[in-house]
């Protein structure tokens, strides 16, 4: 069902954990639906210098979280804003159709954490105007 990449990230997820003094925290998903992603960002000079996640969810949710953190670590905020769910899924060599919502959740976790950073720090981030962190990714597929 899953690509080897997904399985590899599921079994050896990168950047698991919390950041005590995170600059931005995103928390998306819903235990009812069986997936929650929490993402912690450390941001310095517009750059994501550290990122950690915790995820309650299926294999592809964990792999998507792991891949998302890899994709944004060391990147600027703008670069991180450009990471789409398709990029996450693509980097994992694809996800089964019924699992695409996991990659959407990962994209939302990033944006949600950036929104939190923006609100806490007062730094404006282009592209977050229309972002609604409570939007349900399960409706997307």
């Amino acid at each position: 069902m899953y690509s080897e990449k997904v399985m590899e990230h599921f079994h050896n997820p990168r950047n698991v954990g919390e950041i005590e003094d995170a600059d931005g925290i995103g928390n998306v998903g819903n235990p009812r639906c069986g997936d929650i992603m929490k993402m912690y960002l450390k941001i310095e000079d517009d750059t994501i210098v550290d990122v950690k996640f915790k995820t309650f969810g299926c294999g592809s949710a964990i792999a998507s979280s792991s891949m998302a953190t890899e994709l944004i670590k060391g990147k600027t905020i703008d670069e991180a804003m450009n990471i789409t769910n398709k990029a996450v899924a693509g980097a994992l060599d694809g996800l089964p159709p019924i699992k695409m919502h996991c990659s959407i959740l990962a994209e939302q976790a990033i944006k949600s954490a950036l929104l939190d950073y923006s609100q806490k720090s007062g730094v404006h981030i282009d592209g977050l105007e229309d972002f609604d962190p409570t939007d349900d990714p399960h409706d997307h597929h």
Binding site: Y2, M7, P13, F56, G59
Partner: protein
């Protein structure tokens, strides 16, 4: 490759070697069509009839009351739709439960769209149907009660005898989906007043693609698959002769030494439950503690999600299943776990390990050991666990 520890016998079972051996000649030596006049055909016919007789004997039915199908789902569909259509002049009401297999639930929903009324009985925290509600639900329009013998997820065994008595007293047909029970529990259709009963060979070490519906003589039921005159005009299509032969052999073997086998299975089951409860906290046993299938263990591990548990177990060579949404192909966790009152997030974290004759105590201990590590690793990753600990 590591040896597989297969603990998903409720999903399907390997075909036993003796069963396969009996089937083999019917593929390319004794391959005649049972409807054919010549000897090659009538020898196939004889094999089919012998299997029918064996299966009938096992549940105290006549061989003329056993009809072969392609599996459990077809048998379920046939029983419910066949009785509904054949008896709609008598009434349009069907009673079933909230914890039935989809083969029943979705068939009932389909009939609702066609004007039938269906009552889905509630179950208690163990998954046992409410007999009072059953009695109260019966109306003059009620033509069928369909309640499963034992639940495929949580293993709970229903009070079939009581249901059969109620059905008989009120003169209503009683169907039971015994797909999980056959081969594990001794069943006497007369003693239990069962009018129809579904079975599937692949659940008791027979082949996939073959099942049967027991139909008590005299039950008014329409056919589901129409065409040639096979199965005495009640289920058309060239008979799956190897499958039928295999099913007969498999049921025979399943009921051989059943009590001994079950005693062993129950011991393993209790060892597995105890191992998990002794070593992992925040777990709950789903289903009834004693009124359950001998090999069924179903446990929720709080704060983690079932599919990731399964994938982790698979890495360790352990095969199990889960009622999480991610494994059901829908976005909802198991309707059975929700029906026994579990909140969604806990239902997502269920694990079913269904033991079979091939499992050993060593395997059980190995599984417990691996589960301890996997659960703690997944919980360490879980924001729900973090939140829970924070809250404590």
């Amino acid at each position: 490759m590591k040896k597989l520890i297969y603990m998903d016998n409720a999903a399907t079972t390997p075909t036993r070697q003796e069963v396969l051996d009996d089937m083999l000649p019917y593929f390319n030596i004794q391959y005649g069509n049972p409807s054919s006049v010549y000897s090659l055909g009538s020898r196939s016919r004889t094999a089919v009839e012998k299997s029918r007789e064996i299966i009938g004997n096992m549940i105290n039915a006549g061989e003329r009351e056993i009809f072969f199908t392609a599996g459990g789902t077809e048998a379920d569909n046939w029983a419910v739709r066949g009785v509904a259509y054949a008896n709609k002049d008598k009434g349009n009401h069907i009673i079933t439960s909230k914890v039935e297999h989809q083969g029943i639930i979705h068939t009932c929903e389909y009939l609702e769209k066609q004007g039938f009324a269906v009552t889905y009985l509630d179950v208690d925290e163990y998954g046992i149907v409410d007999l009072e509600q059953l009695e109260e639900s019966i109306t003059d329009e009620t033509i069928l009660i369909s309640i499963m013998f034992a639940n495929n997820e949580i293993g709970t065994v229903q009070p079939i005898k009581e249901i059969g008595e109620i059905a008989k007293e009120r003169n209503i047909y009683f169907h039971t989906d015994a797909v999980q029970a056959i081969g594990n529990i001794r069943i006497d259709v007369d003693e239990l007043n069962i009018d129809m009963l579904s079975m599937a060979a692949h659940k008791f070490h027979g082949p996939k693609g073959i099942g049967a519906l027991y139909i008590r003589r005299g039950v008014k039921i329409d056919p589901l698959i129409i065409g040639g005159g096979q199965e005495r005009n009640r289920r058309a299509g060239t008979e799956n002769v190897p499958g039928i032969v295999g099913m007969g052999k498999a049921i025979e073997l399943a009921y051989e030494n059943l009590d001994e086998k079950n005693e062993k299975l129950i011991q393993l089951r209790e060892r597995l439950i105890k191992g998990i409860f002794d070593n992992i906290d925040h777990v709950r046993l789903n289903g009834h503690p004693t009124k359950r299938l001998p090999g069924n263990v179903n446990i929720c591990f709080e704060f983690i999600e079932g599919e990731s548990l399964l994938l982790s177990l698979d890495m360790e060579g352990i095969a199990g299943s889960s009622g999480s949404a991610c494994t059901s192909g829908t976005l909802e966790p198991s309707h059975v776990l929700l029906s026994i009152g579990l909140p969604h997030e806990i239902a997502h974290g269920s694990l079913r390990l269904s033991l079979g004759d091939n499992n050993t105590a060593e395997e059980v201990d190995y599984v417990v050991e691996k589960l301890v590590g996997i659960v703690s690793r997944l919980r360490a990753m879980s924001p729900l666990y973090e939140q829970f600990k924070g809250g404590n």
